[in-house]
Symmetry: C2
Subunit: 366 residues, 2 copies
């Protein structure tokens, strides 16, 4: 069973990846030592599949669970849900030492993670990601957030978990569309840091879609290795960590502009990656052939390669609300090759180039 | 002009204390280098006195201000106010690098500080405390929070400012009752860490109430030295920092139980300090004479020495909602002498002692 560590000094934490892990109490023993109560935050869908399993494992460690079950959906990643969690924690007399266990995908991990960061100024957090996207990306690295009507992930905290357990068995109940969306983030690691991994993905795309266990496990492990290395080097995104945002600024504009829920995050990232690649090609950083190669892999993974049909001006308006603006300039991640990324900074005068890339990738002309 | 440093490695920051500081642009120059826009969060009362002054100073550094003016009062230290700040930041296209400047007392500093901690996962924070309480306590050390209907300061973050500027001129417009409330926190430092300072306060109490500038300045400086030393040793309150909570667990119960706004925080802390001292005497840690000496100084500062007339059971119910509960045990700060504090842990079976201290200090019998 692969075990990785996110190297953050005294806040370092392990990531366990494999099959059957939610039943293995020894993985939780150190984090829950001398604890007799924990809170599990999950959503109604995940609860029906895995809550009993997690609860039984914790009970074997002498830990009683208070369960907080959220409605399922990105539209609930908001103030109201966060406040409901706080009320439940207070009503349950949870203490600042009570561990909060986030069981679910990216939405659960983000909102429960921010609740753990803020309740009594911080309680211990455990991430049990149950979607591919959460296992390869959002459960690792400490980004937590809720959405605001004016922008995605606008309110949140950098707050590291104490433990991440990615049980690949949970992917068996994941809808195929969600699995594919997670692959967009996997492909992203190949594009920004690891040309060999990109080739490996070109070889194994169909096996991944078919959920072949050892292939999935390897993809998750290699993704987490990249994520852990980047986070250890730049926890608060002052430098290298920004490269993980390849496709995300375009993607967030698609998610917000098309209404939360119509596009999955990973789908929007896939289209955003194509836009970023197209802009990279227009700027002479990569060849148009590379863009086609990227689109080819995304298509094989049944991911969109065109964005929402919104005018480029609308894209840019939404992109300016993203967190990647500095001193009025829009910072975008581009590719200098397949396997290497760079940050490029755009003044208002330069946005025509961005608009052209958006139009070339599905944006509407008007 | 005294300048202290809170020693937190690469997150170390200066505290400037003195007269006329809000007009001295050089104090702000390093923090606002290469910045052309900042956000000032304040309340309507403070804005009428000092906002123009701060704005003029920043403009001399080429920094334009977006002002966010909150209603004045502890009852606004809530979700709604926080969300209003986020909306204004988003509407103003604020970036994660835009500095947020909190101009006001403890409420403004706490809510604006938590907004700065959470907006885009953290923007630079400057504290300009305008009350004695904020200058000696809440603006230093990184505790930020909002209240929840079920408990005070329940939602928040540890988030350090980049700069604290305490201009004692702002105390000239502070109501006398607020100044006295701030003295409770000053006296606290003497009680928990510095017997000499306690004696100094016994000598200078009337001069402090009369706002003699050099005496006020010395009291603020000595208080901030203690706060900075404790925070540098224990930023996230895993040990020594808990001693700063002397009187606060009782005090929070008074504030919550009596309704926010009826008691000022410092007034509730004063009564809470007496309860903690009384409990210390009952436990044989200090003499009853010491309790009387503490009450004497508080009385000279025109601070309450009795708590709200609530039954002790109600106190305990509210105290259990405080953040000082661990593994079901209530942790309270007691005095082992004037100048030294210890944490004492109470199981449910031991609460009779606490109830007796509450009744001896103004709690009602029924």
């Amino acid at each position: 069973m692969p075990e990785l560590t996110v190297g953050l000094g005294e806040r370092a934490y392990p990531i366990h990846i494999g099959s059957g892990l939610l039943s293995r109490k020894e993985l939780f023993a150190a984090t829950l030592a001398n604890i007799n109560k924990a809170v599990v935050v999950t959503n109604s869908t995940v609860a029906s599949h895995y809550l009993t399993r997690v609860q039984a494992t914790l009970e074997r460690l002498g830990v009683q669970c208070q369960n907080i079950i959220l409605p399922d959906g990105e539209e609930y990643k908001d103030w109201q849900t966060l406040n409901d969690i706080f009320s439940a924690l207070l009503q349950g007399h949870c203490e600042r030492h009570t561990p909060l266990i986030a069981l679910g995908g990216g939405v659960v991990g983000d909102v429960a993670g921010f609740a753990a960061a803020s309740y009594q100024r911080g309680m211990p957090l455990v991430q049990l990601p149950t979607t591919l996207l959460a296992q390869v990306d959002s459960s690792v690295g400490g980004k937590t957030a809720i959405n605001h009507p004016l922008g995605k992930n606008m309110i949140g905290a950098f707050y590291q978990p104490r433990l991440v357990v990615a049980d690949i068995d949970t992917l068996t109940t994941l809808p195929a569309r969600q699995l594919r969306a997670g692959l967009a983030e996997v492909i992203k690691y190949g594009l920004i840091r690891d040309a060999d991994f990109f080739v490996w993905l070109e070889v194994h795309a169909e096996e991944l879609l078919a959920q072949k266990a050892e292939v999935l496990c390897e993809a998750i492990e290699r993704s987490c290795q990249h994520k852990a290395a980047v986070v250890a080097a730049d926890e608060r995104e002052s430098g290298e960590r920004a490269l993980l945002n390849l496709g995300h600024t375009f993607g967030h504009a698609i998610e917000t502009g098309a209404g939360y829920g119509n596009w999955l995050h990973g789908e929007a990232v896939a289209a955003g990656i194509v836009m970023a690649a197209q802009l990279s090609a227009q700027s002479g950083l990569i060849a148009q052939y590379d863009v086609e190669r990227i689109k080819q892999l995304l298509r094989r993974c049944k991911l969109p390669v065109e964005g929402a049909a919104m005018p480029p001006q609308r894209y840019l308006e939404l992109m300016r609300h993203d967190k990647k603006v500095h001193a009025g300039r829009l910072n975008l991640v581009l590719l200098s090759s397949i396997g290497n990324a760079v940050v490029s900074s755009y003044a208002d005068a330069d946005v025509k180039q961005i608009e052209a890339a958006i139009i070339a990738c599905g944006g509407s002309k008007l």
